[in-house]
Amino acid sequence: MTANLINILLGGVFHAAILFLVAAGLQVVFGVQRIFNLACGSFYALGAYVGASAVNAFTGAGGPPALFIVPLALAGLLVGVVGVVVERGLLAFVYDRDETFQLLLTFALVLMLEDIVRLTWGTAPYSTSALYLAYGQVNLLGATVPVYNLIVIGASLAIALGIGWLLTRTVFGRIIRAAADNREMAEALGVDMRRVYAKVFTLGTALGTLGGALVIPATAAMSEMGIELIVEAFAVVVIGGLGSMRGAFVGALVVGVFRAVAIAVYPELEMLMIYLVVIAVLVLRPRGLFGRVAV
């Protein structure tokens, strides 16, 4: 009984850990730039492909399998630099326009990135073969748990704490929060918003790509994985509240665990469950659990 409970909960938490990274990227960008980045799912897919390529190159060159997490995480973080390219090359042109145009620009990115991934890696599922099992399993109160899942959960938790530290304890964090509260005021105080935007968008992108890279050993990359994920990430931020980091954290846990429990108790509800929670939150508490006043 306990073993089953642990399996179900850890399954949900593992899913939540990945969702959190993508949703956190969505939130940090929205919080500061007021851009709802539909392409966050595409960045996640990009991170997955690049991460898998890096790991395969690493093991192909004779790197010890036990260290594969190093090139994986590095690649996931480094590919986040596409964030700068996208921000400087595309988004920077439309900051003075209606938010709708910014949303549409990220929709354009979704279309383009899906084909870029297909052009680069083809259509067949792409994976890191059996490295997922390289770290073995541990026994937790009778439940067999893959160590890699625990690493991902731990990494996600560490990143959550790191972001919390960044936002509350550093100068950059104070600037971000000031910009999120009142952009004009921040600018008047001498903050270079161009640089802030570039950094924030890159941070948001890197969170998404890192999420993709970390999940890839446990699964296989497919070109449309981004389009699938955006809907779940979206549920997370609606439940948690747009722009709130704590919201992303709690929202991801709610979505991950609700899904896992639904699958174990009443599988018919699987995805529907998430939408029902979303609608319930929207009706009862439209700004989400941790969101500031909407509109």
Binding site: A3, N4, N7, I8, L10, G11, G12, F14, H15, I18, E114, R118, G122, T123, A124, P125, S127, S129, A130, Y132, L133, Q137, T144, V145, P146, Y148, N149, V215, A218, T219, A220, M222, S223, E224, M225, E228, R259, A260, I263, A264, P267, E268, E270, M271
Partner: protein, 430 residues
């Protein structure tokens, strides 16, 4: 001007998709009586995006390999073959592309179609447009019922449930003592129908077999950790799945990570679709694995299949999945149909004449003999077996291999009621 621009665009398209297969030295087109000299246009509709894109690519490669050989040998009755590609996507857009091939490009035949929803739109359209359509994998079934009992122009794939029936046969034969079963299948008609059918057939052999859990994740889900937790909780003797895309690999890997198949048997009716990603490290021996209608490593394979597998490996660096043969068979049977109808008509046959000639026709395909049944349903053999690590690859293969012909595992006519057939005249032995 208008025409020349369109011709130009077509040329670009052809270069872009690697379409028209060269016009090699054999231009000695033996002018036959009543045969036009221009190329035969074959419309090909592979899926290019989404979960089924690798399947679409495989079908296309099978057709391209065929076209290259046929053109080298002089074409169909001396006419060169020209392939025109249009993408299969959602039913609405695919139907528009189908109409374009039929009305605008004016092709002689259209091959392709993988998704059932697309098949349900294309079948009636083929009849309306009087356009010969030979499906690769798509049926015109709604659930397990046929929606087009008497088609003239459309020829469809095997019933969706045949692999589930084969899987259940093998379960009864090789995995004795299975009483409780769990199913994980994609949440769409193919998944639901396979699961229902599998249970029905298994119950013929093991009447007290019962389902303890049924999971239907959406097609495209890439994380099954929670599903596996639910399966562990239900503790079935066996897990059945009709997964056929990348999710097979993911499920297998995540199952291995918690040692699921150490205590449980499994039947992957269709997982052979991604056979070379099922690495030995995480795919155990002793599971039932189905390769659909072509098994690349079959010892009894024809010389043709062996040549194809060799050249495919050399060209694409991987071993061919079954869809290649669906693609190959549709065009090869078209060629045979044209030649047969030509003998009777004495001139290049009309689409109606080819359609008639195709009924009951049998040709040598990659995986062996394949035919069109009189009621326009594809007939072939399915390859399923028990996974083994004893091979030269880094992924599993099957041994022993069971060859299951559709005459055995598919209901005899499209109007037969599936469950009635399973529960009455279905041959338990043989």
């Amino acid at each position: 001007m208008e025409t020349s621009r369109r011709e130009f665009l077509k040329g670009v398209g052809v270069a872009g998709t690697g379409a028209v297969l060269g016009f090699p030295a054999v231009v000695s087109a033996q002018a036959r009586k009543g045969v036009p000299s221009d190329p035969v246009k074959i419309g090909v509709m592979p899926i290019r995006a989404g979960v089924a894109a690798p399947v679409g690519a495989a079908g296309q490669r099978g057709v391209e390999w065929w076209a290259e050989r046929v053109n080298k040998a002089g074409g169909i009755l001396g006419r060169k073959v020209e392939l025109v590609f249009e993408e299969e996507s959602n039913p609405k857009d695919t139907l528009e592309r189908f109409r374009k091939l039929a009305l605008q490009t004016k092709v002689d035949v259209i091959v392709g179609g993988i998704s059932t929803a697309v098949g349900l739109a294309l079948g009636p359209a083929a009849e309306e447009l009087k356009m010969l359509w030979l499906s690769w994998d798509a049926t015109t079934q709604k659930g397990v019922e046929e929606t087009m009992p008497k088609p003239t122009y459309s020829f469809r794939s095997v019933d969706n449930e045949v692999e589930a029936i084969g899987g259940a046969l093998l379960t009864a034969k090789y995995l004795k003592g299975v009483k409780t079963i769990a199913g994980i299948n994609n949440d769409y008609s193919y998944g639901h129908d396979c699961w229902e059918t599998y249970q029905a057939v298994l119950k013929r052999y093991t009447p007290d077999a019962k389902s303890v859990l049924e999971l239907f994740p959406k097609l495209g889900v890439t994380d099954f950790t929670s599903h596996i937790a639910a399966i562990q909780q239900a503790k079935p003797d066996l897990l059945m799945t009709s997964f056929w895309s990348g999710d097979t690999t993911i499920l297998m890997k995540q199952a291995a990570a918690v040692g699921l198949f150490k205590t449980m048997k499994a039947c992957f009716t269709t997982g052979g679709g991604v056979h070379d990603s099922l690495k030995k490290e995480f795919t155990p021996e002793g599971l039932i694995l189905g390769y659909n209608s072509m098994y690349f490593n079959y010892a009894g394979a024809s010389a043709l299949q062996k040549q194809f597998v060799r050249e495919y490996k050399a060209k694409y660096g991987e071993y061919p999945p079954y869809e290649c043969d669906h693609g190959y068979f549709t065009v090869e049977s078209y060629k045979a149909g044209v030649e047969k109808a030509y003998k009777a008509a004495g001139e290049w046959p009309s689409k109606e004449q080819v359609a008639k000639a195709l009924e009951g026709i049998e040709v040598e395909s990659l995986s062996g003999k394949r035919s069109w049944r009189e009621d326009h349903v594809q007939m072939c053999s399915f390859f399923q077996g028990i996974t083994t690590h004893k091979n030269e690859f880094d992924f599993v293969t099957i041994d022993p291999v069971e060859v299951l012909p559709t005459t055995r595992i598919m209901k005899p006519t499209t109007s037969t009621k599936l469950l009635e057939w399973i529960n009455s005249t279905f041959p338990l032995k043989g």
